[in-house]
């Protein structure tokens, strides 16, 4: 297990390097002079040129990359070109809100999806299955910005039960934090729930046909035990894979929810920085996002072995 972890973590290094090269190339391929974007249309040309020089943008690309890589390896992600704040600080500032939103989204999704997935699989072909599947399809199809706005209209404007924005950190004001998290978590959770429901239903249907389920039933176990203890546990493997990908996507991909509910999250940091051509922030944030995605994937692989004892984390050849 330990050897496996070490190997997996060592493998992250070349991937991170590759990601940094890709991120660096992409941001330089996007047209738009960072100096001009930062200074805006109101700046005289000589100021723009001076800023280019000051930001080191006149150096060859390979030199710019090497210099960035050098300081990153020493733990310095650099400073924002726009407002000179340290990139590491910006990432740390933005991370809690996104992590919290991702966790709540996943909670909402699980609470909806697990019972719904099991129920629709067990009652396959019934009206309930049909209603559940349509609901899941609907949840997967509606854009979450639309759902977000609808939730605000209903719960903030008409019923006045929940705030439409106003994120504060949990440790500053836990109640306000949780209240502000409900609508965004539901808006994104609905979609994740739909995806997980569909995976769980399909996977469970497959498992329910398996021999050992028939055996379990044949030896007289109650249907509840057969399903919950034998079938669901086995059906969870593909669901976990899907959920892992979903969570990984959420960490960088909540930008629309963050925009609608004005949550200071990680997704908005990346998007805003791309629009501002704030190269060090984009690079630092993308690198960090890659790190998070890989970590989540690793965690999912570890959870596999906990859920299904048949899966052993091999330290030798690829599993």
């Amino acid at each position: 297990m330990l050897a496996y972890l070490v190997r997996r973590i060592a493998m992250m290094i070349p991937i991170l390097l590759l990601v940094s090269v890709i991120a660096f190339s992409l941001i330089h391929l996007v047209p738009g002079d960072p100096a001009l974007v930062i200074l805006g249309p109101e700046a005289p040309m000589e100021t723009v040129e001076a800023l280019r020089e000051q930001m080191g943008l006149n150096r060859p690309l390979i030199v710019q990359y090497a210099s960035w890589l050098g300081s990153t390896l020493q733990g310095d992600l650099g400073r924002s070109l726009v407002d000179r704040q340290p990139v590491a600080k910006l990432i740390v500032q933005r991370l809690p809100a996104t992590m919290e939103l991702a966790i709540f989204t996943f909670l909402v999704a699980t609470v909806i999806a697990v019972p719904l997935g099991i129920y629709t699989a067990v009652k396959r072909g019934s009206v309930a299955d049909w209603v559940g599947s349509v609901a899941a399809l609907f949840g997967q199809s509606i854009p979450h910005f639309w759902l977000g706005i609808m939730l605000i209209m209903l719960f903030s404007l008409n019923l006045k039960w929940l705030p439409s924005s106003g994120y504060v950190h949990f440790w500053e004001n836990p109640k306000a934090n949780l209240l502000a998290m409900i609508l965004p978590a539901v808006a994104t959770g609905a979609r994740e729930a739909a995806v997980i429901t569909r995976y769980l239903r399909a996977s469970l249907l497959e498992v329910l046909k398996a021999d050992y389920v028939r055996t379990a039933r044949a030896k007289g176990l109650g249907e509840r035990i057969v399903i919950l203890r034998h079938a669901v546990r086995n059906a969870l493997i593909p669901v976990l894979t899907a959920s892992g990908l979903q969570i990984a996507g959420l960490l960088g991909g909540l930008v629309i929810t963050e925009t609608i509910f004005t949550i200071p999250g990680f997704g908005r940091l990346i998007v805003d920085s791309i629009f501002q051509r704030d190269i060090p922030v984009v690079q630092g944030a993308v690198l960090f996002a890659a790190l998070m995605v890989m970590t989540v994937n690793l965690l999912v692989d570890i959870i596999y072995s906990l859920v299904d004892p048949r899966i052993k984390l091999a330290s030798g050849k690829g599993a």
Binding site: M11, V19, L36, T47, D83, P163, G253, P264, A289
Partner: protein
């Protein structure tokens, strides 16, 4: 298995890049939603009563202010926050008349070269140091310092010397007369930063701003919010009224509006024009619609392509119906434009709008040898409103056999292409300045940074430079009028509409002042 993991990572990453590319634009800097000349009397100029200890005013801004140092600031949105943190030497009232602020009074020599300011006494910076003549001199030195990246340099390059006469008197001598000088000092170049704090922080002052204004900087979360608290020792007795101001960056207009309606926000800096009619009867919102200094229109590339021919440019202008455009897209949140000088501002000469004339447009094209029509592209930055404007123009020009292809370019790319003159026609406007010079000079004079059309006309250069000299607007106005005649003939830019300021306030917000520069003065705000 390994391969699959790698591809998972790549998929997740490319997704995060993809949403970034297709995602919503962070609000283009010069594009503001417009409104109605007969502004309803929303504002209630409140008399000084007890400051309210617990009231925090939440103000939404359409973009994140990048640099909180007036001398390094490049984005317009920065200026909203500066209104709270910094005082200026002078300020505008709601009629754009210059009023005392940190300077109590001033005297201008008859030749327009020497400005002597008498400074207010007993004013302290937020760090406890004194505001005096030395501080003013330091501020000018800072802006003019060659090694300090200040975009203000070009605004005050007429300044020759700044002398401290005594502790509370400063004498500024100009190299040549510059009629717009005082109005420059009512903006970022006239904002006075604490010399002690600025020296200590260097360029990083932009994250630790210290001024003399009604509110002190507390903290910021990049891209999200800027929090200010009351300056307890503000020089204006009884002000500010609120205990704090929070500026929130909200890029989506509809999100802004619902948060105003739900009470999470108290003031929003723009209101979607489509919503204005219904909001008039919405008890959760007060609308403040008043004139602005902005203009919007089309840049025409005079250096290459079909539009290098003056007749083709004239044909484009003749085919556009400004009134219809404004009516369709903006309703009552904009008025048609035929110059860069907003209605009611000093240089506005009231030249009537030209009527749309499709036959004239066709005739002009024929004279240019393009009787069969021309094809040109129109670049706009992506937003639903810009898309709508482009489509209306496309249809109008189609009637005159001018085929327009609409190209959406993200704002940064659009600016890049404009400055490289890599376009035919582009929709980019200007945020406006109180002095007419700030709305025309850099846009039409040969070789200037904002002259995106590549236009050059010695007569215009001469008129623009002459119009900078006299102090009396009556002497300057005829020169601007003459320049406009030439520009209407040469058409490097087609002025289309003046957006109005449309701000939304919560139902109980008081003390809002409607100033055409669009800046929200915060010292009187309460709720």
């Amino acid at each position: 298995m390994q391969k699959r993991r790698l591809s998972r990572i790549l998929v997740a990453l490319s997704l995060s890049v993809a949403f970034a590319v297709t995602g919503c634009s962070g609000g283009s800097k010069t594009e503001e939603k417009p409104a109605d000349p007969a502004a309803p009397a929303q504002q209630q100029q409140q008399q000084a009563d007890q400051p309210q200890k617990d009231v925090v005013i939440n103000i939404a801004l359409n973009a994140d202010p990048p640099k909180l140092d007036p001398h390094q600031s490049t984005a317009l949105v920065d200026r909203q926050v500066f209104q709270s943190i910094f005082d200026k030497l002078v300020d505008f009232d709601k009629d754009l008349k210059i009023q005392p602020q940190l300077a109590e009074k001033w005297d201008i020599s008859p030749d327009g070269l020497v400005y002597t300011f008498t400074l207010r006494q007993g004013v302290k910076f937020h760090d406890g140091t004194d505001f005096d003549a030395e501080a003013v001199k330091y501020n000018f030195d800072r802006m003019l310092n060659k090694d300090f990246p200040s975009p203000r340099k070009s605004e005050i390059n007429a300044v020759d010397t700044v002398e401290v006469v005594d502790a509370h008197t400063v004498k500024i001598t100009l190299k040549q007369p510059f009629a717009g000088f005082l109005s420059i000092l009512a903006d970022r170049a006239g904002m006075i930063v604490s010399p002690t704090a600025a020296k200590a922080a260097g360029v990083d002052f932009l994250n630790n701003p210290v001024g003399t204004g009604p509110f002190k900087f507390k903290e910021r979360v990049k891209g999200d919010s800027i929090t200010l608290v009351r300056n307890e020792s503000y020089w204006q007795a009884g002000l500010p009224k609120a205990a704090g101001i929070v500026y929130k960056t909200v890029t989506d207009e509809n999100v802004k509006l619902v948060n105003l309606q739900s009470g999470q926000l108290d003031i929003i800096d723009t209101v979607p024009s489509r919503q204005v009619p219904t909001l008039k009867t919405d008890s959760r919102v007060q609308l403040a619609i008043h004139s602005s200094l902005q203009y919007q229109g089309l840049w025409l590339n005079t250096t290459k392509g079909a539009l290098a021919d003056k007749k083709v440019r004239q044909a484009v202008e003749a085919a556009i119906d400004r009134e219809a455009l404004v009516k369709v897209v903006f309703g009552e949140t904009a008025v048609p434009a035929y110059s860069p000088f907003a209605p009611g501002t000093p240089a506005d000469d009231g030249t009537p709008l030209p009527k749309r004339d499709v036959e004239k447009a066709k005739k002009l094209l024929a004279e240019a040898g393009k009787a069969d029509g021309v094809s040109i592209s129109l670049k706009v930055s992506p937003s639903p409103v810009n898309q709508q404007i482009a489509q209306v123009i496309q249809q109008m020009l189609a009637d005159a056999n001018i085929k327009v292809t609409i190209e959406q370019e993200e704002f940064g790319q659009l600016l890049d292409k404009l400055s490289k003159k890599d376009y035919d026609m582009a929709q980019v406007g200007w945020s406006g300045r109180p002095d007419p010079d700030g709305n025309i000079y850099a846009f039409v004079v040969t070789g200037m940074g904002n002259n995106y059309s590549g236009y050059s006309n010695p007569k215009i250069d001469e008129l623009m430079n002459e119009a900078r000299k006299p102090n009396d607007m009556a002497d300057r106005k005829p020169m601007y009028a003459e320049a406009m005649k030439i520009l209407h003939e040469d058409v490097p830019y087609i002025y289309l509409w003046f957006p109005l300021n449309v701000k939304g306030l919560g139902p109980t917000v008081k003390g809002f002042m409607e100033v055409p520069d669009g800046m929200i003065r915060t010292q009187n705000l309460t709720k």
